[in-house]
């Protein structure tokens, strides 16, 4: 009984090792699909993965409108205080006060690209951009204001 198990073990080991070698051997002989990106050379044709996370951006449409209601869900969701939302209150014609964002502050230098803010956003106002060339000479340039000048909340987004 012991001997059968022993031989079985050796057989199984050899078989699985050969299976592995077949896999790498296949890659060695089929030299077509290369995953290496020769980055600075192919900068114009560079294709990034769909879910690549470069930095957080606030989506603006062509009328310079965004979907951020200033609810601060992203600010609460952020684990390391990357986002700071400063709100203002617009006075509507009927005298009611309506909350709107004044500044969407984003500290790129603190961001870990964890994607939690994007998941927390109830109106899908922010997303992860594909840009990744973030190096600058001054740290203060990494603190960004995400909402464009004069932009306002899109109609119908609550």
């Amino acid at each position: 009984m012991f001997l059968t198990n022993y031989i079985k073990e050796v057989y199984g080991a050899v078989k699985s090792l050969l299976k592995g070698m077949r896999m790498t051997g296949y890659y060695f002989t089929h030299h077509k699909e290369i995953i290496t990106e020769q980055y600075p050379d192919n900068r114009d044709t560079l294709k990034l993965a769909e879910r690549f996370r470069g930095e957080v951006v606030l989506i603006h449409d062509e009328k310079n409108e965004h979907a951020c209601t200033g609810c601060s869900a992203c600010e609460i969701a952020c684990p390391n205080g990357t986002i700071k939302i400063i709100n203002k209150f617009d006075i509507l014609p009927d005298g009611k006060r309506k909350k709107a964002i004044d500044t969407f502050v984003y500290h790129l230098e603190l961001c870990t690209m964890c994607n939690l803010c994007i998941e927390a956003c109830p109106t899908d106002a922010i997303k992860m951009a594909q840009t990744f060339e973030h190096s600058v000479f001054d740290r203060s340039k990494l603190t960004k204001k995400l909402n464009n000048e004069g932009s306002k909340l899109r109609e119908g987004v609550e």
Binding site: V10, L17, G20, M21, M23, T24, G25, Y27, F28, H31, E33, I34, I35, T36, Q38
Partner: protein, 358 residues
């Protein structure tokens, strides 16, 4: 037709006709040493490049591709960098042994080169106990590794060296037994006799199943002996930073690095000699015309082709198999390889006595 035998014969005659015998002999020594060093340098450069390319292609990458066409000058550039680098000796190190260790490793690698036949009648030293000499010298390289690990005065280095010792002690056994099975078939310890006995077919074909088993055991054991992944316990980048050569830098490190690749070449050359007939061309039994065509390929090409094939096999192992833990490594040797190779030796002896081989 070009043959290395003719070249050495010419040099030998010229030297003996122009100088007195002592001077001629000394010049020959110097020439042999010089060509061995040249071979080492060339092997180091080309094998490191080959390893990196093979690794890259197996992992669907490109590998070195910037320095020269297909990156062939990458290793030259690396070597230049290592030469220019400062060779630091730690304060707590045992200076003499620390400096000596890389040279011991290299000298051992050079000594093993002596009985290997590179081509027909092209051998540094044809001794009648070639195989015994090989197995005796090849286990000496662990002394260099031990010296390096001990003299570094570093816990990681010492652990790496100790592991290397355990590894060599255990794997030397099954390597020796698998070599012995070929000696049983040939009935001679001389490298030359072993090659000549494969005139009508290589041992791996002639002695069929037992030879195949002993070849597999041999290739596993020598992978372990040269401290290569999946048996890189002595280096263990991920656990011991670099094991015995953690404290080495510059040219001393380069010597260790070179010795690793030289050792791979040497063990593959031994494997090619024992199982694939060394420089012997591929012959099939009594097919005279086929054998004659094969004879036209120079014997040195046969030898290097077979050796590089085996080196590729070992590289293939490295980039496929997961690493073993130290206890798994020793289990593999003592519980599997050693019993199997002992049984296989018995089988081989029966095959040899009954004449069941071709």
């Amino acid at each position: 037709m070009f043959s290395l035998e003719g070249a050495t014969g010419l040099i030998h005659q010229w030297l003996y006709s122009h100088f007195n015998p002592t001077m001629a002999l000394l010049t020959e020594f110097a020439l042999v040493g010089l060509s061995a060093i040249t071979l080492f340098a060339l092997l180091g450069l080309s094998l490191v490049w080959m390893e990196r390319k093979v690794a890259a292609v197996m992992q669907i990458r490109l590998g070195p591709n910037r320095v020269g066409p297909k990156g062939i000058f990458q290793t030259t550039a690396d070597t230049l960098k290592l030469i220019l680098k400062e060779g630091l000796v730690p304060d707590g190190a045992d200076k003499l042994i620390f400096n000596l260790a890389p040279f011991v490793v290299m000298i051992v690698a050079m000594l093993i080169l002596a009985p290997i036949a590179f081509a027909k009648k092209f051998q540094i030293w044809d001794i009648n106990i070639g195989v015994l000499y090989l197995s005796a010298i090849s286990s000496l390289s662990v002394i260099g590794i031990f010296m390096a690990g001990w003299a570094s005065n570093n816990k990681y280095s010492l652990l790496g060296a100790m592991r290397s010792g355990a590894q060599i002690v255990s794997y030397e056994l099954s390597a020796g037994l698998s070599v012995l099975s070929i000696v049983v078939m040939t009935g001679s310890l001389s490298i030359n006799d072993i090659i000549v006995s494969q005139q009508n077919g290589w041992w791996i074909f002639k002695a069929h199943i037992p030879a195949l088993i002993s070849f597999v055991i041999f290739i596993i054991a020598v992978t372990a002996e040269t401290n290569r992944a999946p048996f890189d316990m002595a280096e263990a980048e991920s656990e011991l930073t670099a094991g015995f050569h953690t404290e080495y830098s510059g040219m001393r490190f380069a010597l260790f690095f070179l010795a690793e690749y030289i050792n791979i070449f040497i063990v593959c050359a031994i494997g090619a000699t024992l199982f694939f007939g060394g420089w012997m061309p591929f012959h099939i039994g009594h097919w005279q015309s086929f054998n004659h065509i094969m004879d036209y390929i120079p014997s040195s090409l046969w030898f290097f082709g077979k050796t590089i094939g085996l080196i590729f096999l070992i590289m293939w192992f490295r980039w496929t198999f997961p690493r073993l833990r130290i206890d798994q490594l020793l289990n593999l040797e003592w519980k599997y390889l050693l019993p199997i190779s002992m049984f296989n030796l018995l089988l081989m002896t029966i095959v040899a006595i009954m004449g069941w081989h071709f």
